[in-house]
């Protein structure tokens, strides 16, 4: 179906300012090719990422969420990326419990110098989310529908 090949996933990126976002900027400045599917949101550290952000992103229309932080041992605030890794692991399991593909949430550790890795991850993740298709957010009635009956 042409609508499937035309599907451009909406991906929300939660990137730490010290590493991944710097790597993203370097990728941009270096004019590396990658799909323009990611809306980047800067966080001071991936440890700041409340798991609620991931759910809210999906609720607001994201088909995939990409979390990018520093390599283990390099976190500007020591442990933030470890906490993020733990939280995202639990979020993936939670998504699965709710019947949402856990592959829609991905966490990658990308440093400020790894522009190529950033471009590769964005390309790969876009392909992965494209294959999963648009997120069927709500198969049931939406809030307020019942009020209109």
């Amino acid at each position: 179906m042409s609508s499937e090949t035309d599907f451009q996933p909406t991906i929300v990126g939660l990137f730490c300012k010290w590493c991944t976002l710097a790597g993203a900027d370097l990728a941009g400045v270096s004019r590396l090719k990658m799909p323009q599917t990611v809306t980047a949101i800067r966080v001071p550290c991936t440890g700041r990422i409340d798991p609620t952000f991931v759910l809210t992103a999906f609720e607001e229309g994201a088909d995939g969420v990409l979390v990018g932080g520093c390599h283990f041992g390099d976190c500007h605030y020591q442990e933030g990326n470890y906490n993020a890794a733990k939280r995202m692991a639990l979020m993936k399991a939670t998504l699965k419990d709710f019947g949402i593909e856990s592959e829609r949430l991905r966490i990658e550790l990308i440093s400020a110098g790894e522009a190529k890795k950033f471009a590769n991850v964005v390309t790969d993740f876009t392909d992965q989310v494209k294959a999963l298709g648009p997120l069927q957010w709500n198969g049931y009635k939406k809030r307020g529908d019942w009020a209109n009956e």
């Binding site: 906490n83 198969g139 307020g144 009020a147």
Partner: protein, 329 residues
């Protein structure tokens, strides 16, 4: 709307209250009676026009009222079928103030765990597949049946358990499973004096259960393994449960209960739902675990977490209905 004046009403007239139970266990009704002498204060303050479990009242009388005649309606229980939604809308039209009373009305409550299935799966489990149900002909109740007098119908079961604010506009939230009698009297006091908080306020006793917990937090929490409460033979009754490796939902649960369970040596189950500024109780507890489970090794983390096989059932035990994801796809 001048809430103060309208709720006080004419000084010589009693207020008009209504209490109704949706998808409810009856505990919220008991909680109102648990106010002991408070029920006398409520009876002196208001005429109760509808309270199916306790006083005589007819829906036809409620339907005949002009809109906004009832001063305060306390609706407890969730909405899971068309009849409950219909009554919610009826009472909303006839009431000035609608309070979502109890965790089920505020968040869906424990019954909203049914949202991990749809109504077809629920019916299958209840009538066919459960071991204790002898039903070899696989008979399932139907919505309509023809009888000599005509056709009779049952309400439509929704696929989802809904908190009250998914069906009608809610003025205040009073969570608790059930609400603490002291908090109920706080709300009654506010109604009596006319000093109602801004619309949409959740009536609470503080921030989270941790704030009210009688146990001491002695050190930074570092969990290396989770223990069931019966597994800890040297449990310190004065120390934080999480510090001792026993799972407690206090950090993500609103303070409305005076930490009653903690006082009785049981960890918090999260039965009052999240604080008002927390959108998703489960996500918040996941955030807590990310901080306090003390390992940097992903494999070790997975091993520790395998001790908690049903995080969704534990962390959304009372608030699945109001959570962001709400139901299984």
């Amino acid at each position: 709307m001048d809430t103060k004046r309208e709720v006080i009403g004419l000084m010589s007239e009693k207020l008009k209250f209504a209490l109704f139970w949706g998808g409810s266990c009856g505990g919220c009704e008991i909680a109102v009676l648990d106010t002991d002498a408070g029920i006398l204060e409520i009876a002196a303050l208001a005429d109760i026009l509808l309270w199916p479990v306790a006083v005589d009242g007819k829906f036809s009388d409620i339907e005949a009222l002009p809109d906004k005649t009832i001063d305060v309606c306390l609706y407890n229980g969730s909405c899971r079928n068309s009849e409950l939604a219909h009554v919610a809308k009826l009472l909303r039209a006839k009431s000035k103030v609608m309070i979502a009373f109890g965790t089920c009305a505020c968040h869906g409550g424990a019954p909203s765990l049914a949202n991990f299935a749809n109504s077809e799966e629920v019916f299958d489990r209840a009538y066919i597949s459960s071991v204790s149900t002898p039903n070899p002909d696989k008979i399932i109740p139907q919505r309509k049946v023809k009888v000599p007098e005509g056709e009779v119908t049952l309400p439509e079961i929704y696929d989802q358990v809904l908190p009250l604010d998914h069906v009608v506009d809610v003025d205040y939230y009073l969570p608790g499973c059930p609400p603490h009698p002291d908090l109920i009297m706080t709300a009654v006091g506010a109604i009596k004096s006319g000093n109602l908080p801004p619309k949409g306020t959740m009536i609470t006793d503080g921030t989270t259960v941790c704030e009210k917990c009688p146990r001491e937090r002695t050190e930074e929490k570092k969990i290396h393994e989770f223990k069931r409460i019966w597994e800890v033979t040297d449990l310190d009754p004065n120390r934080c449960f999480l510090e001792q490796g026993v799972l407690c939902c206090g950090p993500a649960t609103v303070a409305v209960c005076q930490a009653a369970c903690l006082d009785a040596n049981m960890p918090c189950r999260g039965c009052s739902g999240p604080p008002p500024d927390v959108r998703d109780q489960g996500a918040k507890m996941i955030s807590v675990l990310g901080s306090i489970v003390d390992t940097e090794d992903p494999e070790e983390f997975e091993k520790i977490m395998s001790q908690l096989p049903d995080l969704g059932g534990v962390f959304y035990q009372f608030s699945l209905g109001s959570s962001i994801l709400k139901h299984k796809r």
